[in-house]
Point group: C2
Chain length 491, copies 2
């Protein structure tokens, strides 16, 4: 291959980094911790956005846009939130530069200091609930079902492309409800949307559950999460939905008159998913040859590579291919005919493998004679010679098959890597030597969770929804427990 | 009406402000100069985005994402650019807050001062060209045709919703080319895309032209613009496309090996349109009753209001309406059946007039008997009773008619308000007492342009493309001139 990747077995972390860069998904920028999302990576993100946005709208949500800046004082209003979010963040203190008369260039104008510093939003609960105060008076103003697509900034010390960056792109839903029950239902509805998206579009099986108190969102009463397992046996939190109770309503004094005319505080949820999903997508499916993209999120679903010795052969191939291209497009399948004369077919094969294009067709003069085409599947790397007749129907069903196959492969991997531990030694051994999801009894206390984390780095990823009830004893403290929870090392 | 607007004749500026707020497009936020774009306003912006994005992709562009932050030193690299952009901007100086042990709340941690301040992008030429240096080595890497949808910040002292806000949303295209000719062609191609969008989607006639040197983008060799005329006779710049020459390539050392293997600097363009277009849309068409939206950008194209006395009547209407709704949706027409029982029909009529919904149907029990429906057009405020038979076809062609009518109305207004001035007194009189576009001879010097601006506040909006050549004398200096240029007061 033109662009060599480190293999997963050699160094998984380096493999990931190599792949993200060499497949043109993203790269580090001149600004520490901030990435550039390159056109190919952004095209995948756009597909994710389009599907999520459609799902949000189908569940009754609308989009809006709130300011990038949050006044510093807003963070102090919700006690837990300030602890969780107001610390490592970008602070705007001045609003003007001026020419540096001495050294040239520009310097910050000390006369242009803001009275109150502005924080670049790390998440928008505070500014949004401050706004909702004016939008909500009566139960007739509820529910508010609003989503925002935006950039956010959290000042991270150690960053990795997509997985943890100082600036990232995401969506954040912020809803307001008249009753606790309705808010809880919304929280669950949205974790289900994320789960559907992860499984049906990203082809990535996820476990739905609730977070332990330690891992909850700062300011939430309950945090729902979807957790996926990466190929190195580490978990990746892929979307969260928070029931915020009346915490933000109280912090920002958001009340409504109920049907009886009595004033009550509003109930809140928030939910988000980010460009971190790009990292999950890469790590869930890809191999040592490059990306493996599920067809539903692949910017190019089918690539056609002509194999020719002269321009006449290329023209003959082009004439044959035109019909296939038109037929695939008519079915809504994205297809690229790569007739770039500067690259050899072998280079192109490697390049599209690296880029994760699900189906590759190669056509040469012999194929024209035989009315055939060589078809390669990215997921299995299988090659077959198939007839031109009915090729578009064949590709259409093959793309569905690939989508399912990628999901099943990931599901099998997860099944094989989800084990039960019944003793502390067993638990430590699994976490240290095998990785994966470990189901174990836990006494329900933050103290035990903290100690397990300190000794093994494993965290409780979630308490699965619809969890099997089973009597047992905490692996660490031995105290009685009525269910296993999901532990893992995590990104 | 429930929500009274100031009339345009009474106070145009107040009318605009009232309308933006009362039609739920946007409002001021808690952060000075930053707006909240409300769901209804954002839905219009999403329609604009979708059409522009499609047009960009059809002309070969792809999207990507570059960092929000720009190192301060980058601005000093292009001499004109720093003068134009690096001054009034948001400066991040710190990356951490800490608890205020004395007063409570949080304060900026003085230990977390950045070595080099970061500027929130006011536009992204500098960070993008710094990135392109690594992406471009050979002529085979060119052209790069990249667009970004993003938020930007320019610290404005006087702000107005959509028209001038500290933070705004926009797209910025940044392309790189091997030849000057190709870059110039790209610049013109994109001003044509903006012009097509403005005229065919916003129903807003625009004049295409180039800016005078004074009004050029900071760092550009040539700036192309589209200029629209608002109902108060002021011009609004609605999109610009810049030929940047090799200025940014030289500032960021971006070279490529040409086909002969010689190194050359890359040629650049950039082009942008922003949420300012929302302001243009409002001011170009709306009236004292509220918004008038062109059907192609209206989030709701048809609203159906039932007029009933009891639930049985409502059910009968609903049964009849179901077919219309399905029929309209099948044609891709967005329709809302407003059966909210808390509001009276009269309130709804006023509300949808305010919101600019192009077509309103009202249906009562008498209509059911007669197989008719009352149809109201927002653009003309005409009401007609029409038959149910063929109603969806009728509405489909009516929406096209409304789109055309709104454009023609704006075009007539512009024609009536585009006048020639041949003397300085005539010019001053037109600008002061009539407004509108004024075509006048100019001697081509920045000095004269500056003096005209100082005395009348009028600026040269553009030198129209394909301008008629005509001998004359500068209205101010009397020096000879071979063409008229377009003057106006402007937003």
């Amino acid at each position: 291959m033109a662009k060599e990747l480190t293999s997963r077995s050699e160094n998984y972390s380096q493999w990931y980094q190599d792949l993200v860069i060499k497949a043109d998904l993203a790269e580090n920028s001149a600004v520490r911790g901030c990435m550039v999302i390159k056109p190919y990576g952004y095209a995948i993100w756009e597909k994710m956005q389009a599907e999520l946005d459609r799902m949000f709208k189908e569940t009754g949500h609308v989009n809006a846009y709130f300011p990038l800046f949050i006044p510093k004082s807003f963070f102090s209003k919700e006690a837990d939130h300030v602890e969780g979010f107001a610390k490592e963040c970008a602070v705007v203190t001045h609003y003007r530069l001026k020419n540096d008369e001495v050294n040239g260039g520009v310097v910050v104008d000390p006369d242009a200091k803001l009275e109150e510093e502005l924080i670049i939003r790390p998440t928008s609960e505070t500014i949004i609930w401050n706004t909702y105060r004016n939008w909500i008076q009566s139960h007739r103003d509820l529910p508010l079902l609003i989503n925002q697509w935006a950039n956010v900034v959290r000042w991270e010390m150690r960053t990795r492309l997509f997985l943890r960056t100082t600036e990232f792109l995401w969506q954040e839903g912020h809803t307001a409800h008249a009753t606790k029950q309705e808010a809880v239902e919304e929280t669950i509805k949205m974790i289900n949307v994320y789960s559907d998206f992860a499984q049906n579009y990203m082809a990535m099986p996820v476990i739905k559950g609730v977070k332990s108190e330690n891992e909850r969102f700062a300011g939430a009463i309950e945090t729902y999460t979807i957790e996926a397992l990466m190929q190195d046996g580490k978990a990746l939190q892929s979307g969260t939905s928070h029931f915020l109770g009346q915490n933000f309503a109280k912090a920002f004094d958001v009340k409504f008159a109920n049907k009886e005319g009595r004033e009550e505080y509003v109930w809140a949820t928030s939910w988000g998913a980010s460009t971190r999903l790009m990292g999950a997508l890469v790590m869930a499916h890809s191999d040592d040859h490059g990306l493996v993209l599920p067809p539903r999120l692949a910017p190019i679903q089918v690539v056609i590579v002509p194999v020719y010795k002269n321009m006449e052969q290329l023209e003959n191939i082009r004439n044959k291919v035109d019909g296939i291209v038109a037929g695939l497009k008519a079915k809504g399948i994205s297809v690229k005919f790569d007739d770039n004369d500067n690259k050899k077919p072998g280079w192109k094969f490697a390049e599209y493998e690296l880029k994760g294009v699900p189906v590759r067709l190669a056509i040469g003069p012999r194929d024209l004679e035989n009315n055939t085409v060589e078809l390669a599947r990215r997921d299995t790397l299988e090659k077959n010679t198939v007839s031109f007749d009915g090729i578009t129907d064949h590709i259409q069903s093959l793309l569905e098959e690939i989508q399912t196959n990628i999901f099943n492969k990931a599901l099998n991997f997860r099944s094989e890597n989800t084990l039960k531990a019944d003793t502390w030694d067993e638990f430590k051994d699994l976490i240290k030597n095998k990785g994966g999801f470990v189901l174990a009894h836990w006494d329900g206390t933050s103290e035990t969770e903290e100690k397990i984390k300190n000794e093994t780095k494993a965290t409780i990823r979630c308490i699965p929804l619809d969890n099997e009830q089973e009597a047992g004893n905490c692996i660490y403290s031995g105290a009685p427990s009525n269910q296993r929870v999901l532990f893992a090392l995590a990104y």
